[in-house]
């Protein structure tokens, strides 16, 4: 083979390799290589049972209840389609609020409740002054009312 032909063969082989790699990677992204699972995935039994994993989603509005000991908190995590009840004993991060994102790490009990040993707040990439934030929140609330 001439050197030029060899070089072309190498380039073709290289591009084929890149194509295969891209196809494999895309295939993988449809699968669950994730930092946390969504409540829908848990409902579909795609999350591991009997061991620690993370669940992520929004803290469902109106579900956060503190026990009388002042430490234990119960709330639900939702991805709007499904939700899962979570029990957590400990200090919550400041940004933990109803309607905001959170990631809880723990195990699912036999009763279907997620017993968390760590709760992290996941905030979004929106940064704005409080007035603007309130305006958007109230707009959302108004929209929810209208939708209902």
């Amino acid at each position: 083979m001439k050197r030029r032909h060899k070089r072309i063969a190498f380039i073709v082989a290289g591009l084929t390799g890149l194509g295969i790699a891209a196809a494999l990677a895309l295939n993988a992204f449809q699968d669950n290589l994730v930092f946390f699972f969504s409540p829908s995935q848990i409902a579909a039994k795609q999350a591991p049972t009997g061991r620690t994993f993370r669940v992520g989603g929004l803290v469902q509005e109106g579900t956060v209840k503190r026990e009388t000991d002042g430490l234990t908190v119960k709330f639900s995590v939702t991805d709007t389609a499904q939700s899962i009840p979570v029990v957590y004993k400990g200090i919550l991060p400041d940004l933990f609020k109803e309607g905001k994102g959170c990631v809880a790490q723990g195990k699912i009990g036999a009763d279907g409740v997620f017993y968390a040993d760590q709760v992290l707040a996941k905030h979004d990439e929106n940064y704005m002054p409080p007035e603007a934030g309130q305006a958007i929140d109230s707009a959302k609330a108004a929209k929810t009312v209208v939708d209902n």
Partner: protein, 241 residues
Amino acid sequence: MNWYKYASPTNFYPLAGKMIPWFAIPSAILFVLGLYVGFFVAPTDFQQGDAYRIIFIHVPSAWMGMFLYLLMAFYAAIGWAFNARLSSMMASAISITGAMFTALSLVTGSLWGKPTWGTYWVWDARLTSTLILLFLYIGFISLQASIDDRSRADRAGAVLAIVGVINVPIIYFSVQWWNTLHQGASIRLLGKPTIAPPMMAAMLIILAACWLYSIAVVLVRLRQIIVEREQTAAWAAEARA
């Protein structure tokens, strides 16, 4: 004016010396201005209160960590392909500043993570890949340090730097490809930024300050490297004296 003249380290040395104050002074001014805007003009955030203000250091330093890696790999590659010594020296000079910014972004990130997320560190894709970036910088620096022959050190560093470039897009897109604890980008190439204008202004001013600072520091380090490597040349001995 013949620009090629300045591709030679000997000729670049005095030019670099003249350029340094032109970057260092504006950098200092912009830092002060940016921090003032960031801490006194920009409003508190509707969710995070004042804790978000670390963004003004965190985001520019994270960007610099990634940009400087690409820049370092670019200069190293040019130095290797065209046997341009000044370009290779530039790569070595950039590496330390890049490593510093990457470390700074990791530290400020974990200081930010504690009050907002509730933890200093998680092994999500963004954080892990940024840590790998720091390791790549350290690998580049230690590889160059342990090779005595300068020309081999330059080219070996170039190979390593080019191999590591694959990590930069992974860091950048990790928050889109995987669900991570880390939030997405607030300032995107396409689409509206999701950050209020005064906050963005402070961030961009500090980013500009970081760029100018990097240029100034890299030039200082470049001059040191030039003197070190051109030891045999008479002019370098004079410059040192």
